[in-house]
């Protein structure tokens, strides 16, 4: 399985600078997620990797062989399109077999190989149907089978779950994981859904406006995001972010001493799951305590999100990991541990976590 190396990839399209000097290393046999908001250049990168498009500059290495100008099939890479791109005039069987007809395999070998992959992806019972008769999940499995049957070592999936039902996504994510583990194929997922990052947390690259701004596993990104947009993007519920000044000037709330020496223009962020209900007796030194009235409560699965109006520019979002009924207008006090907070500079660049603050590394 080749180790993929992308060196200074640049791509412009009609004046839009799609990819700005992208450098990325994807170790072999990994399940890699390229995460980022829509239109951040993920698809362009996927197409260049697959060989459908040439980069304006920069080169691509498989192990250390330069494949930049090699066609898709010499690279043994396959791309599963967002709309699955199944051939409407062929049955599922012929769709999967289409990539093998070019190889020297006999008809019998092709039949065996297609059957094997179809059974593996649990669509062998639908092989005689035409794409128009298949459900979303089935179409995708046919598209994946078509990509794999050819023996492609790397398969790239462009927004694989966007068109699928909520429930089918969960099942397809498990399928992809099983596929990667059993077949030892490098799977690259281009996605804008943070749930995909959660499902495959080990290798993630976060892309924003054509640049890769952080690579690592989910925990690293979760704990130490390089900038504000990653911090806001990752998380079941979006992170609360306020200018430091607005928190420092809050009346009626105790502000821990360690926070007070922060520069006013900095931004303080804290995740809704780090906010807990405050009980009078537990007075700990390094805790921001906020008092406010409940605006609305939302129940998500088995968690509850409470939107709190605490005199800050925006309502504070609090995530409680059990179903709690809070009536709008009810007064509530919540606390955030200083070591859990995130500090960003005015431009949104990550400065440090609460813990570093207490250690005094962040100067005034």
């Amino acid at each position: 399985m080749p180790k993929i190396g992308l060196v200074n990839i640049n791509k412009k399209y009609e004046g839009l600078h799609l990819l700005k000097n992208v450098n990325l290393e994807i170790p072999n046999n990994t399940l890699f997620v390229i995460l980022g908001p829509p239109r951040s250049g993920k698809t362009a990168l996927g197409r260049i990797l697959a060989g459908l498009e040439l980069p304006d500059s920069g080169s691509i290495f498989f192990d250390d062989e330069d494949v930049t100008y090699k066609g898709p099939n010499q690279r043994n890479v396959s791309l599963v399109f967002q709309d699955f791109a199944l051939y409407p005039h062929l049955t599922a069987y012929d769709n999967i077999a289409s990539s093998l007809l070019k190889s020297r395999l006999t008809k019998e070998e092709i039949r065996k190989r297609v059957k094997e992959f179809a059974e593996y992806l649990k669509i062998d019972h639908r092989l005689t149907h035409y794409p128009s008769e298949l459900s979303g999940g089935e179409k995708q499995r046919v598209a994946i089978a078509r990509a794999l049957v050819r023996g492609a070592q790397i398969i790239i999936l462009d927004e694989p779950f966007v068109r699928l039902d909520y429930k089918v996504r969960e099942d397809m994510r498990a399928q992809l994981y099983r596929l990667h583990r059993d077949l030892g194929v490098t799977v690259i997922i281009l996605s804008s859904d943070h749930m995909d990052a959660m499902a495959f947390p080990d290798n993630i690259a976060f892309m924003l406006e054509g640049e890769i701004i952080q690579v690592g596993n989910l925990d690293a990104m979760y704990e130490k995001p390089t900038n504000l947009s990653i911090a806001k993007y990752l998380g079941l519920v979006e992170m609360n972010v306020f200018p430091a000044k607005s928190i420092l000037d809050l009346k009626g709330t105790e502000i821990p001493r360690s926070l007070s020496m922060l520069d006013g223009t900095m931004l303080i962020g804290f995740r809704p799951e780090h906010v807990t209900l405050h009980y009078e007796n537990t007075l700990k030194p390094d805790k921001i305590i906020l008092a406010g009235k409940v605006k609305i409560t939302e129940i998500v699965g088995s968690e509850t999100i409470v939107h709190l109006d605490a005199g800050l520019p925006e309502p504070v979002r609090v995530l409680i990991s059990m179903i709690v009924r809070k009536t709008p207008g009810e007064a509530v006090r919540v606390e955030v541990d200083v070591k859990d907070i995130y500090v960003f500079d005015a431009k949104g660049k990550f400065v440090g976590r609460g813990g570093d603050l207490i250690g005094g590394d962040i100067a005034r």
Binding site: E170, M198, P201, E273, I299, I305
Partner: protein
């Protein structure tokens, strides 16, 4: 309120029954969720309610008045479509204001529209033409269009599916606020349970044109009527383990194919429940599994971590089940003894899939 409505679509030879004699009572001022996989007939039901589709048989009542034959325009209904339906040549302002032309004076219209635009956060786009906006903003305009009117019922057909994940959360809380503020009954159709469960007071889970269960989110979560509803509600979905009842001494156990035993004698009058059912399915939600001193052996094969939320894929007697445990820290390969919260176990009859309560 729908009274055993059936809708059969005839296209050429094959007739598809989109809705099979469905009865649904929507009490006033409630937020009703219609949840189900694609193609289960939820959108057709919605369109029958809105009057855009005539049922093949059955009646539709609004507050007791039979409106089945009444045209959509007379039913004072407001609707948001999956793909924002906006008038292409008009500006945002005109798109919102157009429905009020006959009812309010220009001054009042202006006030209403500005208020709503401010609330949804599209005030600075009022002058631009809708065709220039991206799909997220267009859906916001569609929501504003609906809010401005004062309909007897709001109907929403998967409004958030087309929108970016980030904007989806923002709009979800906005819709919740709207429902609370206007206190009108809302009917919300989606295949994404996170939206429906957060917004709805009562939810109807549908499949193949039928309502399987119609209850509050909590009851659907804790007392699903059959395996489909149990599987459909909750993320990650419920685990199902096939087993058979075995009596050992005075205790009653459920043993799986590979022999691990679960003591279920604590369940009240379990005897009566179990006779007549040879094969059973034991359903347990991932969040109701915990690590115990002794229980069933399980090997961890995969970990999904998201900050505080951890999902462990555990292999038990050859089948993989998912467990959502907060305080535990397993890595792939660890084996551990797990047990289930006794009161959270739900038993289903293997053939019918119906739960035993």
């Amino acid at each position: 309120m729908l009274d055993n409505v059936t809708k059969i679509f005839k296209s050429g030879k094959k007739t598809t029954t989109a809705v099979k004699n469905l009865t649904l009572r929507v009490p006033d001022k409630t937020f009703l969720g219609l949840l189900g996989p694609s193609g289960c007939g939820k959108t057709t039901t919605l369109r029958i309610m809105a009057g855009l589709e005539k049922p093949t048989s059955g009646r539709v009542y609004f507050d007791g008045v039979d409106v089945t034959a009444m045209d959509a325009s007379k039913r004072n209904v407001a609707m948001i479509f999956q793909f924002p339906a906006l008038y292409p040549t008009l500006s945002v302002y005109d798109n919102i204001a157009i429905a009020l032309r006959t009812k309010l004076s220009p001054g009042e219209i202006r006030k209403e529209v500005l208020g709503v635009a401010e609330f949804i956060g599209i005030s600075d786009y009022l002058k631009t033409n809708v065709s220039k906006l991206d799909v997220n903003l267009r859906q916001k305009v569609a929501i504003a269009k609906v809010m401005v009117r004062d309909p007897s019922v709001f109907i929403l057909d998967e409004p958030l599916t087309v929108v970016e994940p980030k904007v989806r959360n923002e709009l979800r809380s906005k819709l919740k606020e709207i429902q609370l503020k206007l206190g009108k009954s809302m009917i919300y159709v989606s295949h994404d349970q996170t939206e429906v469960l957060t917004l709805a007071d009562k939810v109807a889970v549908m499949n193949n044109g039928e309502i399987l269960q119609y209850d509050t989110p909590e009851n659907l979560y804790n007392k699903p009527r059959d395996t489909f509803v149990a599987w459909f509600i909750g993320y990650p979905s419920m685990n199902f383990i096939e087993c058979e009842p075995i009596r050992k001494g005075d205790r009653l156990y459920l043993s799986t194919a590979s022999g691990s035993m679960y003591d279920v004698s604590h369940i009240p009058d379990v005897e009566k429940l179990l006779e007549g059912h040879k094969k059973l399915v034991l359903g347990i939600r991932p969040e109701h599994i915990f690590v115990a001193r002794e229980g069933v052996k399980a090997k961890c094969v995969k970990v999904e971590r998201f900050g505080s939320m951890k999902i462990f894929h555990l292999e038990v007697d050859g089948t993989t089940i998912k467990a959502k445990m907060q305080s535990i820290n397993l890595t792939v390969g660890d084996t551990v003894q797990i047990d289930f919260h006794r009161d959270k176990i739900i038993l289903f009859d293997a053939e019918s899939g119906k739960s035993l309560f």
